[in-house]
């Protein structure tokens, strides 16, 4: 799973943990329906859409007919997701499902344009005295967000984040320390991991933390969530009136302003502007900016045009040497997590990836995947260009040797070649170093043994592997091991066979 999808999973997990009643109330807002829909896995999206305009209950068997047999596990995952979010309701017999009626109505209305006129925010049409343009909003959002990142990594800056942000960082375990004073907090391992994530994941981490906090403050979780999802569907560069918001949501505005998600001219202003950070909350595309870029901007003032070139600046050679064109303390600090830095020049640092340096990072809880992903996204443009050229050549070579490309169905074949931005030997080695550490993997689950005959054993094992819950099996001893989640289905299956 790519890191881009990670925030989706965390958000969904959070939503699943809410109780039935809260979820039903959430679905009353069309904007929330749309946002939740976007967070679902692709298969679930298809299932929901196919049921959306269908009046009757749908047999689960019919849904299963759509996908190929070897994708059972994806299907089960999709159904499981929808069920735990209560997006679908099972009939008594368990054979038919239908969409949650409120969700169904609101989502359909949203697509057909029948929803309430202020479902996606109330546009404020009064003329603004001071014009607020996109550039201003972007600068505002990034300064706010940068301040937080700078603070975390300990850059000397004049401004520190507000107290509410500090409290969030502390309760989220990203910073630690006894006092509430900004200077005395220290970044934790979790905090370093946080820095490696892309900006969307970072924002969601803070927002979910914020949600927990609002619960303690007796704020209404539905109001808070609805507002967050609403922000994701607002239009950038337009002002919205606060009149349609509930008291809770107005209270939230000041906190969101501290994150740089919304802009208000003053705390009492009756309109607000969503920034780019807010409007892209529910989208999964690449991050708007990376930490290093934020720092570059801060160092070079407002002049952001040349920071664009310096944003990706890491070169890795096959001999594990790393060169990074950067001066920013943040990027150097992050590199220092997994690179053994050697020399620092006026505009670059050099270092070496070693077994020790990677192991250090791994001990800090950073995964090999995170390191690789970070290096890939920050690779020097020249490296990316070379990689692309190589890939093109490979594809071309294949095409010229394999004339039979016009037979159709070729789309079924998986892509044989991948874009290799980093030297493959380095990537493999980093992965191997991680594997050195986890030689033992643990799974919670159940062992099935003492089958009566080989046929019983085989059918059960095949079923388990089909639905993707089989962890291990031994044909000679007729034993197999099934994950905790899969136990119910597998035991149902075996009792049905009897």
């Amino acid at each position: 799973m790519s890191t881009g999808d990670l925030f989706k999973v965390t958000v969904i997990n959070h939503l699943e943990s809410l109780d039935d009643n809260t979820q039903s109330r959430l679905y009353a807002a069309p904007a929330t329906c749309l946002s939740i829909y976007r967070l679902l896995p692709p298969m679930a999206k298809f299932h929901i859409m196919s049921m959306l305009f269908y009046e009757k209950n749908v047999a689960i068997k019919d849904l299963e007919k759509w996908s190929k047999p070897n994708t059972r596990h994806l299907q089960i995952e999709s159904l499981e997701r929808m069920r735990s979010l209560h997006l679908v309701q099972l009939s008594e017999s368990g054979k038919y499902i239908r969409l949650h009626p409120i969700f169904k109505k609101n989502f359909a209305d949203c697509l057909t344009g029948n929803q309430a006129p202020d479902a996606f925010g109330n546009l404020d049409t009064t003329v603004e005295k001071h014009t607020v343009d996109l550039k201003f909003l972007d600068t505002f959002a990034s300064t706010k967000w940068e301040t937080i990142l700078h603070y975390m990594v300990g850059t000397e800056l004049s401004s520190t984040p507000s107290r509410s942000v500090l409290r969030l960082l502390k309760s989220g375990g990203l910073m630690e320390g006894n006092s509430d004073y900004a200077q005395e907090l220290k970044i934790t391992n979790k905090g370093f991991q946080f820095l490696l994530q892309d900006i969307n994941a970072q924002i969601w981490t803070l927002l979910l933390q914020y949600l927990d906090l609002t619960l303690e403050l007796q704020m209404d979780a539905v109001d808070v969530l609805n507002f967050i999802f609403l922000l994701g569907s607002l239009e950038l560069g337009k002002s919205y009136s606060v009149s349609a918001l509930s008291d809770t949501q107005i209270e939230m505005l000041s906190d969101l302003r501290d994150f740089g998600l919304v802009y208000q001219r003053s705390a009492t202003s009756n309109k607000f502007y969503p920034t780019r950070l807010a409007t892209t909350l529910t989208s999964d595309s690449n991050s708007l900016q990376t930490p290093s870029m934020a720092i570059d901007k801060a160092n070079s003032g407002i002049d952001s045009t040349d920071s664009k070139q310096r944003q990706e600046s890491i070169i890795i050679e096959t001999n594990f040497k790393v060169y990074s064109y950067t001066q920013s303390p943040l990027e150097i600090a992050i590199l220092n997590l997994f690179v053994h830095l050697r020399t620092r020049f006026a505009n670059m640092v050099t270092g070496q990836i070693t077994r020790e340096s990677i192991r250090n990072a791994l001990y800090n809880g950073i995964t090999a995947g995170q390191v690789i992903k970070f290096l890939e996204t920050h690779a020097h443009p020249q490296m990316k260009m070379l990689a692309q050229e190589k890939l093109d050549k490979k594809i071309e070579f294949d095409a010229s040797n394999n004339i039979n490309t016009a037979t159709g169905k070729s789309t079924d074949a998986p892509m044989q070649h991948k874009l290799e931005i980093l030297p493959p030997n380095v990537v493999d080695q980093i992965k191997l170093w991680q594997l050195e550490l986890d030689r033992i993997q643990t799974f919670d689950g159940y062992l099935f043994r003492e089958f009566n005959n080989q046929i019983d054993y085989e059918s059960l094992r095949n079923y388990a592997s089909e639905i993707g819950v089989l962890v291990w099996s031994d044909d000679k001893k007729r034993t197999c091991f099934v994950t905790k989640e899969g136990l119910k289905q597998v035991s149902n299956f075996s009792s049905r066979r009897r």
């Binding site: 799973m1 999808d5 976007r38 896995p41 692709p42 298969m43 999206k45 298809f46 859409m49 196919s50 305009f53 269908y54 007919k65 759509w66 996908s67 190929k68 994708t71 994806l74 949203c110 697509l111 057909t112 344009g113 029948n114 929803q115 309430a116 006129p117 996606f120 546009l123 049409t125 996109l134 550039k135 972007d138 569907s233 560069g237 780019r276 892209t280 529910t282 989208s283 999964d284 595309s285 690449n286 991050s287 708007l288 900016q289 952001s304 664009k308 944003q311 990316k384 260009m385 692309q388 890939l391 016009a406 159709g408 169905k409 070729s410 789309t411 079924d412 874009l419 594997l435 993997q441």
Partner: protein, 381 residues
């Protein structure tokens, strides 16, 4: 030992199969007066377009970065309804409601589908398509007296859709950049560079090349005529095949269209003949809602029974049994008068032709048994 260590990373690749890349959906709607007249007691263009718009909204709701395009293929020519280059989408008027009252009743009825509070992405697309459609409709009605040929311009519309797809795939939009800016990207470059971090991440993704946009095309046509320009259609199909763009076909009207069946079949698309278009929205939301990203996982609801009929290069009629030029594989229903291939101009052997004319049965190639490879040279050409 090896098994254990492999597992950790194999799982990572496994989940890649169903990733959620942004995708582009291009709808090609054919407006041939005759075709729509034939099914006028079942449905109207307006009803179908409304269903299509809901379908487009559904596609846009899948992913924030999803893109759509709408191409109208009319006897007067093909053109884009969305994205419309003549408009800037930032400035779409917000006072639609007030406009409606001023406009004539017909138009206000059409636009009533679009409400003011609609999600912005939806509203922009729906408004543009509807206003473009009514514009084209009135153009067609007024131009009736001129020579409006009845023949289909579908292949032209497909080429338009494909070239747009090609452009979008190369450009790979990111969140921040809108379709409008893709079209007028040249004008925006300076703007982009100076302004936002978001825009620059868009260009990064582009040079990066890992998150390529996926795309597909949906053709909706009621046209029962078989006078589609065969060669250009086939060329469009092969273009789509090469670009890995699936062409889905929603065929309204009375008959199946064998050429469009071939189009869907060759590009791994869905072909359905919708005889009762009343429940069109449900069909669109199930059978045609299979995204490119989950397409490898799904069983496509398509008919395997495809008629690989080819079209004669001289008369334009479809042939089941005919002659094939041995040089360029051009298909003929009759032996050309000038004894040379109409496409590649290679001269035919006179003796052979004489032989063919005398005993045509011997050299005829059967095209309809479909059992061997050689029986289907035409679509492979």
């Amino acid at each position: 030992m090896d098994e254990i260590s492999d597992n950790t990373f194999i799982e990572v690749h496994g989940s890649d199969v169903s990733n959620d890349d942004p995708s582009l959906l291009t709808i090609v709607l054919e407006v041939s007066p005759e075709g729509w007249f034939n099914i006028k007691d079942q449905t109207s263009i307006m009803d179908v377009v409304k269903s299509l718009l809901v379908f487009l909204n559904g596609h846009l709701s899948l992913n924030n970065s999803n893109q759509v395009a709408f191409v109208l293929s009319s006897p007067a020519g093909s053109k884009f309804l969305y994205p419309d280059t003549s408009k800037t989408y930032e400035e779409i008027p917000l006072n639609v409601t007030s406009e409606e009252t001023v406009e004539n009743s017909n138009k206000s009825e059409e636009l009533s589908f679009v409400t003011k509070g609609m999600y912005r992405q939806f509203r922009v697309v729906d408004e543009t398509v509807l206003s473009g459609l009514s514009q084209t409709m009135s153009d067609i009605t007024h131009a009736q007296d001129d020579k409006v040929t009845g023949s289909s311009r579908l292949s032209g519309a497909l080429s338009l859709a494909l070239s747009y797809t090609n452009r979008m795939m190369k450009l790979d939009q990111s969140i921040s950049t809108t379709t409008a800016s893709a079209i007028s990207s040249a004008a925006n470059i300076s703007n982009k560079e100076s302004s936002t971090a978001g825009a620059s991440s868009g260009t990064n993704a582009n040079s990066y090349g890992t998150s390529r946009m996926k795309s597909r095309i949906l053709v909706v046509t009621p046209n029962d005529n078989e006078d589609i320009k065969y060669i250009s259609l086939m060329k469009a199909i092969f273009g789509a095949q090469k670009m890995k763009v699936a062409i889905d076909i929603a065929k309204l009207g009375r008959k199946d269209s064998s050429y469009l069946q071939q189009a869907a079949d060759a590009t791994n698309g869905v072909y359905l003949h919708i005889e009762k278009p009343l429940g069109l929205i449900q069909v669109l939301c199930t059978a045609y809602f299979i995204e490119p990203s989950i397409r490898p996982l799904m069983i496509l609801p398509t008919n395997s029974n495809v008629n690989y009929k080819a079209s004669c290069f001289i008369t334009g009629k479809s042939v089941e049994i005919g002659y094939v030029c041995s040089v360029c594989l051009c298909i003929m229903s009759e032996i050309p008068d000038r004894m040379s291939c109409p496409t590649c101009n290679s001269h035919f052997d006179e003796k052979l032709i004489a032989k063919l004319k005398r005993k045509p049965v011997v050299k005829k190639r059967k095209l309809d048994n479909g059992s061997s490879e050689s029986s289907t040279p035409a679509p492979e050409a």
